[in-house]
């Protein structure tokens, strides 16, 4: 049974920069893997803090990144690996189209926040994805992210695109 989407998140932020591409999120040499738990072991491995991430990431943690997160090849492995590693939510200044879709379709929420770079690595965040409100507990700041669309919310709520299609009319 897929768990229905939770609207509130609390987690520690992992800061990444601009233009983190899918080769960094999930290196091409692991593309033949199809087992999701195996894929999760290589999340963010190609970034400059890959080892640190894989060793220390905890369930519920939140990735906070700059612009164009997830650019590059269309591999869905990237979204699946991040989700599998325990990341509950990604906040970025902007996302590459395919990566953004892959996240929504696999029920990993994403929020766009112009001020994402103000959030520091390791900050504790409380996020309500329905209102788009992001509380930076560590810095005692509140941000308002772009609201996600109704259509995307429905897909997230169904537990992903394929689950959604089973109930979709027309």
């Amino acid at each position: 049974m897929d768990k229905l989407l939770s609207l509130r998140f609390r987690g520690t932020s992992w800061h990444f920069g601009d233009d983190i591409d899918t080769d960094q999120i999930y290196p091409g040499k692991y593309l033949p893997l199809t087992d999701k738990s195996e894929m999760a072991k290589h999340a963010m491995e190609g970034t400059d803090r890959g080892e640190e991430f894989i060793k220390n990431v905890k369930p519920g943690d939140i990735i906070v990144a700059g612009k164009n997160f997830g650019c590059g090849s269309s591999r869905e492995h990237a979204a699946i690996a991040i989700h599998g590693a325990g990341i509950s939510l990604i906040i970025a200044q902007s996302f590459a189209r395919i990566f953004h879709r892959n996240c929504i379709n696999t029920a990993l929420p994403v929020l766009e926040l112009k001020e994402a770079n103000e959030i520091q690595d390791g900050d504790i965040l409380e996020v309500n994805i329905e209102t788009g409100e992001i509380k930076d507990i560590t810095q005692n700041k509140i941000y308002k992210a772009e609201p996600i669309s109704e259509l995307e919310k429905e897909i997230l709520n169904a537990g992903g695109l394929l689950q959604y299609l089973k109930f979709m009319q027309g």
């Binding site: 601009d18 233009d19 591409d21 080769d23 960094q24 290196p27 091409g28 040499k29 593309l31 033949p32 199809t34 190609g46 612009k67 164009n68 650019c71 590059g72 090849s73 269309s74 591999r75 869905e76 492995h77 979204a79 902007s94 590459a96 189209r97 395919i98 879709r101 892959n102 379709n105 696999t106 669309s149 109704e150 259509l151 995307e152 897909i155 992903g160 695109l161 394929l162 689950q163 299609l165 089973k166 979709m168």
Partner: protein, 414 residues
């Protein structure tokens, strides 16, 4: 209306505009030897043995690891061959070539079509006025099952390219020059419509080069209004019921860029980003270990002809390895008939079977740490072709000139 608004309005049976979220009917769903096996897995997990939405509108292409390089890849290909048989789907096996090009050469693409596939360069189909989108496995599985998919209608940027493209300048130099100006996020989640003298004069191969690199600008899709030579190509490849698609070319564009290439010199993208672009002459003399000519961006017959023109009767430099890969078997046959294979082989090149080849790790020919390659491909992300390696992106002309000299060389200096 913009071209993408027109196409999505028709495919959604209602009038849509930029920023709308909409369900769109699909004309073709494609998958390939990587990505494809995960699609099948997802499909079976969620929909079991349910038939695909329309088996005539589905195609499987093998282009990445062909022939199978190891047991895992062989198993993945086996999964797809079995799925194709079960669902009576067309499968283009290891003897065909790069997926999007195979779709184009087999009458599966025409203007107005909405096409999705497991390849981030599906958008090169914009070269014939079709809306191609690279998608993840879940999107493809969804498309296979329902024949429709959700989209956010992208806003459109207009790019005008004036001036005349003249040998040894190519569409690749234009694409890199635009990338230099827009950056790798300059067209993020946008459609592009291309206009101008230089664009109108481009043949299909050149249009493919340009539209394929819209991916590197983070654009969704780049359109060039198809003209008679494009229609001629499509008709010659079994496309019937062709319908022109026109750009309104009004003021609905979010942004307009205007470039003049009259004085443009050959361009090159330095490590490790496709927008780290400069004149080839600025990095000329840099020692190179390997040159790759091919890919969905620069693997067509016209590209190979430029290479042959430079290599004919000559030997490549002793210190460099040259790998040439035609995009498709049709291209390979044309190259063979035109005598290009002899020129390539006599020059000292390795000519590989048609496919994607050196666009990703895991393919024969990847680099050792510290090695330098000039590639006609579309990406030079760090580590993509071997840890510690450096990749420069350039035109087939620059790549061939570099192979001859063993150091980065502008084709204008030959």
């Amino acid at each position: 209306m913009t071209v993408i608004e027109k196409i999505f309005s028709r495919a959604a049976n209602k009038k849509v505009k930029a920023d709308d979220y909409v369900w769109v009917n699909l004309d073709l769903v494609a998958m390939r030897d990587f990505g494809g096996p995960n699609v099948v897995k997802e499909y079976k997990e969620h929909f079991g043995d349910a038939p695909v939405f329309d088996n005539k509108k589905v195609a499987i292409t093998f282009d990445l690891h062909i022939p199978a390089r190891d047991e895992k890849v062989a198993q993945n290909q086996q999964i797809l061959r079995k799925f194709a048989k079960e669902h009576n789907i067309r499968l283009f096996d290891i003897n065909t070539g790069v997926g999007q090009h195979i779709l184009l050469e087999n009458g599966l693409v025409k203007p107005w079509d909405v096409i999705i596939g497991t390849d981030s360069h599906m958008n090169l189909l914009g070269a014939v006025g079709a809306a191609g989108f690279g998608m993840g496995t879940t999107d493809i599985a969804a498309g296979l099952y329902r024949g429709k998919l959700w989209f956010k209608v992208p806003r459109t940027i207009k790019i005008i390219v004036d001036g005349i493209l003249k040998y040894p300048l190519t569409a690749k130099d234009v694409a890199l020059y635009i990338l230099k100006n827009l950056s790798t996020s300059g067209a993020l989640n946008r459609a592009i419509e291309f206009f101008g003298e230089a664009i109108i004069m481009m043949n299909l191969a050149e249009r493919i080069t340009l539209t394929s690199m819209v991916t590197e600008m983070s654009g969704d899709i780049g359109f060039i209004e198809p003209d008679e030579p494009i229609f001629e190509f499509l008709r010659g490849h079994n496309v019937t019921d062709l319908e022109p698609i026109k750009s309104d070319n009004n003021n609905e564009y979010e942004k307009v860029y205007e470039f003049d290439i009259s004085n443009l010199r050959p361009q090159i993208a330095c490590p490790h980003s496709p927008d780290n672009v400069t004149n080839v002459s600025d990095v000329a003399g840099r020692k190179v270990d390997q040159v790759f000519i091919g890919s969905c961006t620069n693997g067509r017959f016209e590209d190979l002809k430029v290479v042959a023109r430079i290599l004919e009767g000559k030997r490549i430099n002793n210190g460099v390895r040259l790998i040439i890969v035609p995009a498709t078997m049709e291209v390979a046959m044309a190259a063979e008939q035109a005598g290009l294979y002899r020129i390539f082989l006599e020059s000292g090149a390795v000519v590989v079977n048609p496919g994607c080849s050196l666009c990703t790790t895991g393919h024969p020919g990847i680099l050792a740490p510290g090695e330098v390659m000039v590639s006609t491909s579309n990406r030079n992300f760090i580590g993509k072709l071997g840890k510690g390696a450096e990749v420069y992106l350039a035109s087939p002309a620059t790549a061939a000139a570099t192979a001859l000299q063993g150091v980065i060389t502008s084709p204008m200096e030959l």
